[in-house]
């Protein structure tokens, strides 16, 4: 008997609780009550980051490109990145399109860091054009400097074996799996060993900028290849 009454009472309570909760939810939905204090909606959408480069004359002065070349470069740049800056993901996408067989993302990451000279996470048109100016119109010294900067991942002035190994692996990744002969695991490592044997004169395990430039200037192949891409634009 008692249980029957309790059951009924219990269910009545449940029913009332349900009703109350539903009405509170309804009021919240209608916006009359606010629960948490920081329920401010993010009305302000982050406006798209836009960046405008410096004037044409300044760029002309800073780089070794002519006015026309700068115009062509900018048109291509702006077409692909209407907001004026390239972030790392876009950069990786663009670079990956040239190497469909392999995975170019790691190397693109290092490349991005090399171009992003002010390390703000995005490559603006100035960074882009400055980098290109060095690569295409710079002296051999400057080019080698740029390459050293690329290999020196933490920008401390020394290339260690680990850094070189990372770079080497990234380059081999771009080749992909389908190569002949098949790339083995230790191929990058061997390549790094060869590199260090060539470059590291004092055998201290790191390569400094002077060692690097000296060694490269003595190497015929490297010197010739530095002039390979001069007529790209």
């Amino acid at each position: 008997m008692l249980t029957a009454i309790w059951e009924t009472e219990g269910l009545q309570t449940v029913g009332i609780v349900v009703l109350v909760c539903a009405s509170i939810k309804l009021l919240h939905l209608l916006g009359l009550i606010n629960f948490s204090e920081d329920s401010v909606e993010d009305e302000l959408e982050l406006s798209a980051v836009r960046h405008r480069p410096e004037g044409l004359e300044q760029l002309e002065a800073q780089t070794r490109f002519s006015r026309k070349e700068l115009q062509i470069l900018y048109r291509g740049f702006k077409n692909e990145c209407p907001s004026g800056v390239v972030n790392e993901d876009t950069f990786k996408d663009i670079y990956a399109q040239f190497f469909p067989q392999g995975d170019a993302s790691t190397y693109a990451h290092f490349l991005f860091n090399a171009f992003d000279t002010d390390h703000n996470g995005s490559v603006s048109f100035e960074d882009f054009v400055m980098g290109l100016s060095i690569l295409l119109r710079g002296t051999v010294q400057e080019k080698l400097n740029w390459a050293f900067n690329l290999y020196d991942i933490n920008k401390d002035g020394y290339i260690t074996k680990e850094e070189m190994l990372d770079i080497m692996k990234a380059i081999y990744d771009m080749m992909g799996k389908c190569t002949y002969p098949v790339l083995k695991e230790e191929t990058p490592r061997q390549h790094v060993e060869i590199f260090f044997q060539k470059m590291d004169k004092n055998k201290d395990g790191v390569v400094t900028i002077d060692e690097f430039i000296d060694c490269c200037q003595n190497d015929e192949n490297i010197m010739r290849s530095m002039h390979l891409f001069e007529n790209v634009i």
């Binding site: 009454i5 029913g15 692909e80 663009i94 399109q97 080019k143 740029w146 380059i171 390979l228 790209v232």
Partner: protein, 634 residues
Amino acid sequence: MAAGVAAWLPFARAAAIGWMPVANLPMPVAPTEKNKRQDELIILNVSGRRFQTWRNTLDRYPDTLLGSSEKEFFYNEETKEYFFDRDPDVFRSVLNFYRTGKLHYPRYECISSYDEELAFFGIIPEIIGDCCYEEYKDRKRENAERLMDDQEDNKDSKLPNMTFRETMWRAFENPHTSTMALVFYYVTGFFIAISVITNVVETVPCGSAPNQKEVPCGERYTVAFFCMDTACVMIFTVEYLMRLFAAPSRYRFMRSVMSIIDVVAILPYYIGLVMTDNEDVSGAFVTLRVFRVFRIFKFSRHSQGLRILGYTLKSCASELGFLLFSLTMAIIIFATVMFYAEKGSSSSKFTSIPASFWYTIVTMTTLGYGDMVPKTIAGKIFGSICSLSGVLVIALPVPVIVSNFSRIYHQNQRADKRRAQKKARLARIRISKTGSSSAFLHSKRNGLFNEALELTVRPEEQRLSKSTSLLESQHHHLLHCLEKTTVSAHNHEFVDEQCYQQSYLEAGLQTYPSRSPSLSSQDGVTGTCCTRRSKKRHTPLPNASAQAHMHPLTHPHAHQQGLQELSTIHIQPLSTSRSSLNMRVDEPAPLNCQSGQITTAIISIPTPPATTPEGDAHPPAGPAHQNVVKVSAL
């Protein structure tokens, strides 16, 4: 490669300097760029609207018209621009594709014109961007459906040489094709109605004997009802057997829904006949009678609305399934709750959960019979929540079903309207075409006239007669050449459309193996006929419409000429009677035919009396020969 990526190739190449110090081997020689052009603006003149863009922009997609050297065909030397005689509005989208790498489909544009432009400029439609692709595909599908509808209509055409079986099947499927079919259609409809009414009236209580309880009519007038039933079932059986006989694929017919309904409608009667008055099975027999009500579904052959409804329900099966499922869930939940809520109250009708199902269903569908009512407060609260949620759950899938039905219904209406308009449209097109063909004969007469007076004609007269345009005169010259080509002993000439006497034609017509690729069976003298399908091929041809070009029966020999068939040939089988020659051909209406019939057959009878062919030769009633040779039509 994508648009902008081509612009980044210099960058990628420059960045390759990063590999150089690492490499052990010498690098390959870089390709030199001979006569490297400075980027220049090129002007594209599309029907007067000038678009300008960089040459590099267009070079991004070298497998299209604008990106390849194909555009040099359109180069205009004087104005130094590329001229395209196309739609400038659509060209906007095309050019934007080069600029941005994405092809967009504008909504206001007609799908077929857009497709044509894309085909012209060598762009495949599959690269339409995701934003517009769905719309494009929807419109394309709609268009294809419409075309298919049009093609299906043509299947209604009567093939002159159908077997009896095919004729019957066609009569069953399309009652409006012949009077017999229509009669049959109405008779069956009438008997279906009679049968259903009989079933209903059977159960109505008729007057009874004074001291007996009311008896249903069925038991009072057993014999009468039995006779009615027998008659109806007889008709239905005969109809079913005839359909089964006529069906092109009997197995498929037997599996179709309509035939199953037919069978279910007549089976109970036969089962009843077979079964004796066995007490055990009479109960089952009574149940079988319920199936007689299925006869009402036979009406769906007569009513298109019913068919649409059925089709809609079939196509909304998933929505209906969802409705059912959600209703079941809700019913179980609320029944359980109501049962436990009402358990306490005395004399509660909610004796078990299944018993509460009834209450829940009645409440959720807002019926509210009132035979089961909650008495406790909790029960009342939950009961009200139940009815509110019921309204919502049922209201949700219904609009989907409704919109589906509306779409299918409108589609059907549109199809009917199109069919009705098509006849008028085609008639008007034919009329305009006859104009051009009669113009030829007219000019030919003038030409002959001129030839005859060649020596005496004066320049002014000649000029007067040259009132036709250059295009027309060239066309007429072409037809003239054709006539001259088909020279044997006598010229075959195009003649005015005059019907030849029936006897003329009765001399049998030989089919000319037409060169139309759409004809299926065309083996010489077998009396197969060209169908309207070939007509469809030929109507777009600009030449004169189908005419009865007959030449007089003056040919000593029968040979098949190499006449090109430019429109349909309507050929009767060898053994048809005169009446079948009256079959209508889809030919131009205004003809001064005696019999009101147009045949495009030209007959040359082997040994006729020799008469010279004239312009408008009246065909003398020649002897009826069995081997008529040739059919030619233009």
